[in-house]
């Protein structure tokens, strides 16, 4: 339960932090840290405009997107606290629930009959397909490394004799990239772009409004918090005292958000046809990680 509360709290501040860092970096005054969540509050209370072409899919898809991401977040260990659901192979359910969310996003965007949304959906489907192996290979490597089969067990690795900052950093690097790709941020896609032709996530929700848009945006906030928590679990040693664990958890999340903010301020986005290479590179890094683990376990 503590894990869930921590994830939800993080998801409230995370996007605001990114926005804050971006405005500081670009020398603007910028909105407050709570602005994204205030936007969601406003959206929740608005009416909805559906496209005339859309049918039932547009009406139920946002709800399922939210539901699946929320259930996926129940399986994440946070700062040493046990998640609500934990069992052998829970990461498979986690990854496939995110896939369910992606499935729903794609068909919802096609429901409007818009070519722009089709374009975004096409990219989302392809990038999602390409990044999934990276996550699984990383987890497979960690299964070999720890001999555990659940997220809680696997991310128990910093703790006792298994603690290794180098591994933690590599895992964080891979997970960070996966977060960027899952949420379509710079350098894959610029959420602040104004041209529909080059969007990925933003273009898919062009015809989603009000309560539905709020749900989808909040799901993406949760995704940030979820991956941030995994990164924190990979970096923080488990044998710290409760206070230190919480402090380091918050620090890791803030650094993660700040990193994304700085990346978005100082980095340009890729050309669209370079994205596949970028994603495959991340996959290859996680294959390398797997090979390194084989070496350390003397399996080679």
């Amino acid at each position: 339960m503590v894990a869930l509360i921590l994830i939800l709290t993080t998801s409230l501040f995370f996007p605001g932090l990114i926005v804050r860092v971006k405005s500081i970096a670009s020398g603007r005054k910028g909105p407050g840290i709570l602005q994204p969540i205030k936007n969601i509050y406003v959206l929740l209370r608005k009416g909805i405009v559906y496209s005339t072409l859309s049918g039932t899919v547009s009406r139920f898809a946002p709800v399922i997107v939210f539901g699946s991401v929320a259930v996926a977040s129940l399986m994440i260990p946070v700062a040493g606290f046990e998640p609500l659901i934990s069992f052998n192979g829970d990461f498979i359910l986690f990854a496939y629930l995110l896939a369910l969310a992606r499935f729903m996003m794609i068909i919802a965007s096609f429901d409007t009959g818009s070519s722009f949304e089709g374009m975004g959906a096409s990219r989302e489907a392809l990038y999602g397909m390409l990044i999934e192996p990276a996550l699984f290979i990383l987890l497979a490597g960690l299964v070999v490394f720890t001999g555990e089969y659940s997220l809680t067990g696997i991310f128990n690795l910093p703790g006792g004799e298994n603690y290794n900052l180098i591994y933690g950093l590599i895992i964080s690097y891979i997970l960070g990239n996966i977060t960027i790709i899952e949420n379509s941020r710079v350098p894959l896609d610029d959420p602040k772009t104004h041209l529909e032709l080059t969007m990925i996530h933003e273009v898919m929700v062009l015809d989603t409004s009000g309560f539905n848009l709020a749900l989808i945006q909040f799901s993406s906030f949760i995704k940030f918090a979820v991956f941030g928590s995994l990164i924190a679990s990979a970096l923080i040693p488990r044998d710290l005292s409760l206070a230190w664990r919480l402090i380091s958890f918050v620090t890791v999340q803030m650094v993660f958000a700040a990193t994304i903010g700085f990346l978005e301020s100082f980095r340009t986005r890729f050309k669209m046809n370079r994205n596949q290479q970028f994603i495959l590179t991340v996959t290859m890094i996680s294959v390398l990680m797997f090979v390194i683990i084989l070496f350390t376990k003397n399996i080679f």
Binding site: T52, I64, S114
Partner: protein
């Protein structure tokens, strides 16, 4: 052990022969009704045998095989593995028959009535042959039933024989099946040489005395041709589009699974070489799965696309079997049991969602009269129930929770990840390959099914429908509802279904251990909880939305067009454009051909243009077409003798006699 009386089986055969004639009676309705009664009767009888076997096998100390005394003593033997396949076959046969009632309606008017009757006759005999196949151990009778299955399904496939390409697809199927038959014949003959009877049961002795993998390979090729493993799959993408939709559903759902049954049956007798065989099966299956779905994504013909997905799913089942064999090799019961159980459950699951998808696709095709998905669109507004059925099937086949496809893939993943615990380089690399391929298959299947569902059912029609499509008939809806129920139930309450499947797998392949079963079963309860949580959250969110929107206005407006308001319905995103980036990525492996005519310099007002994309199965063009063309070229050279003139033939006879005379004179013959 309760034994079915001798007479019962023989009565059954007599009744079957009588009903076969009744189907051929002149009355149009009679054939349908008699066929229906027969299908239900066979299903009821064999399912009763199967369920009875399962109950006795798992209730106590009873031995887990039983024989049905038939014309020849202990010809029909049922063990839990056969019982499982019999149940699957009957379920899909019933839904297929119900579907055919509506589907064949338009043909009854168009076609000569005798074709419809022969179609139903073939349907009944297909069921008979499929149901008795898992019960037969005797090689001779097994191959007879196998041949009966091939012939009756061939007749079902060529139902639309007056359409272009149907007969060719049917013949290609028939020829390839007989190549497979040849391998099976060879395998049976070799393994039973010197024995009194030709039977599966001789395999135990054979495998004990000889190397295991060559014989397994023979069986694998024979059965793999039916199942559609990589390189042997080329008949599938031709035969399924040619066949009527219920036949595609039955063939893809259950008939190709008998190939899987055959492989599993042979596997039960294996004595050694587990590591080699397991590794080979895993690698072949990984290639099968990835290749199947990679090809599927590029298809525009919805039934061809589904056929390629059958190949993909055979790959997933094969991964399970391979992991099972490999688990035995490394002596890990959890890996073995989870692998086999995953394979069995995926066999069941695939029969459910694939028949569901074929039925839904068939309903759409019978309304819009095209299989090309680029010409459809917006069907959900005309046929909401069919669309929902297809959506459920699409989510299930992509292996996404909360439906059944996820459960079987989860079992296979369980097997893989437990296999990683065996810290040997060889096994870790093998498992790595299998994990990578299964993840890739999942992602690609999602890409593929979001494409089909979106393009066919969502948005606007891409061409005008004449007449406007209407919702499928009652029987079609019932036929789709039948598989939908278990698809949802297995997904939501996996522990109820995984337990018996696991017991079947353990009884056939691995000794059951309490700890092993508990480790495999425990996640199922959690998945059930998570699915319940998902549904609860969805309901809560919907209620919350209702509450928040009580006093708000819900309006509709035109789709955002970025300032361009004259959007034509043909400018919607198409299936080709959806997968264009993917196609450019896979171009080194699968060539996508574009055919278009460029604008000339002198064309000031260009006329309409055609643009086509097509992707060829390079396996078919290399392995089937090229050798066949080569043969034809050589044989054509021999055709100079075939002049068609009587005088020449008389001359040949004369020359032949002279030749014989000379050879005899020289004492050569």
């Amino acid at each position: 052990m309760s034994v079915v009386k001798n007479e019962l089986m023989s009565y059954l055969l007599i009744i079957l022969c009588v009903t076969s004639f009744l189907i051929l009676l002149p009355s149009r309705n009679a054939s349908r009704i008699v066929a229906g009664i027969t299908v239900f009767a066979i299903a009821a009888f064999s399912s009763w045998l199967a369920i009875d076997t399962l109950i006795t096998a798992f209730s106590g100390s009873e031995p887990s095989t039983r024989s049905v005394e038939g014309l020849i003593p202990s010809l029909f033997v049922i063990d839990p593995l056969s019982a499982f396949f019999i149940l699957i076959i009957n379920f899909t046969m019933i839904s297929g028959y119900i579907y055919s009632l509506d589907y064949l309606k338009e043909y009854i008017i168009r076609k000569p009535p005798v074709w419809v009757k022969i179609h139903y006759l073939a349907l009944v005999w297909l069921q008979v042959s499929m149901v008795i196949l898992p019960m037969l151990r005797n090689g001779f009778w097994f191959l007879t039933a196998w041949e009966l299955m091939t012939l009756s399904s061939f007749i079902l496939v060529i139902f639309d024989f007056d359409e272009k390409g149907t007969l060719k697809a049917g013949l290609s199927y028939l020829v390839q099946m007989h190549v497979g038959m040849l391998f099976l014949l060879l395998a049976f003959a070799l393994s039973s040489a010197g024995q009194d009877t030709v039977s599966f049961d001789n395999l135990g002795n054979w495998f004990r005395d000889n190397r295991n993998w060559p014989m397994f390979l023979l069986f694998f090729i024979g059965f793999g041709l039916k199942a559609g493993f990589f390189v042997l799959h080329t008949w599938l993408p031709d035969a399924h589009p040619a066949a009527p939709s219920h036949v595609s559903g039955i063939m893809s759902g259950v008939m190709i699974k008998l190939g899987i049954y055959g492989i599993l049956r042979v596997t039960t007798y294996l004595q050694g070489d587990f590591a080699v065989i397991g590794a080979a099966v895993i690698i072949i299956s990984a290639i099968t799965g990835v290749y199947g779905v990679m090809m599927a994504i590029l298809q525009h013909d919805i039934k061809k696309l589904l056929a390629y997905h059958s190949i993909e799913n055979i790959g997933i089942i094969g991964l399970g079997i391979g992991l099972g064999i490999f688990g035995t090799a490394i002596g890990n019961n959890i890996v073995a049991a989870a692998g086999y159980a995953g394979a069995l459950l995926h066999t069941l699951n695939h029969s459910l969602f694939k028949s569901l998808l074929f039925y839904s696709a068939g309903s759409v095709i019978s309304q819009v009269h095209t299989r090309n998905i680029e010409k459809t669109g917006g069907i959900m507004k005309f046929m909401p129930l069919t669309a929902w059925a297809f959506l459920i099937g699409a989510i299930a086949i992509s292996g996404i929770p909360p439906f059944n496809g996820f459960i079987s893939e989860f079992l296979i993943y369980t097997s893989m990840f437990h296999g990683l615990g065996n810290n040997e380089f060889y096994s870790v690399v093998l498992i790595f390959i299998s994990i990578f391929s299964l993840v890739l298959i999942g992602g690609l299947a999602l890409l593929c099914f979001t494409k089909v569902f979106s393009v066919v059912f969502l948005g606007q029609p891409r061409s005008e429908y004449k007449p406007a499509p209407v919702e499928a008939g009652k029987m079609m809806i019932i036929a789709k509802l039948l598989p939908v129920i278990p698809v949802v139930l297995i997904g939501l309450l996996p522990f109820l279904f995984v337990k018996p499947v696991l017991s079947i797998a353990q009884s056939a392949f691995v000794p059951a251990t309490d700890t092993g079963s508990a480790i495999i079963m425990k996640p199922m309860y959690y998945i059930g909880i998570a699915s319940a949580g998902l549904i609860a959250l969805i309901i809560v969110a919907i209620l919350l939305r209702k509450l928040m929107l009580r006093k708000r206005v819900i309006t509709t407006g035109p789709t955002w067009g970025c300032g361009y308001s004259a959007v034509d319905q043909r400018q919607q995103y198409t299936a080709t454009s959806f997968v264009q980036e993917y196609a450019s990525l896979t171009n080194p492996v699968i060539k996508t051909g574009y055919s278009k005519i460029h604008y000339g310099d002198d064309e000031i007002f260009p006329g309409p243009r055609d643009f086509h994309t097509h992707s060829d199965d390079f396996i078919r063009s290399r392995i089937i077409n090229k050798p066949a063309d080569f043969m034809v070229r050589i044989l054509k050279k021999g055709a100079v003798f075939q002049t068609g003139k009587l005088q020449h033939y008389v001359l040949y006879v004369l020359l032949f006699m002279v030749l014989i005379f000379i050879l005899t004179y020289l004492k050569i013959i």
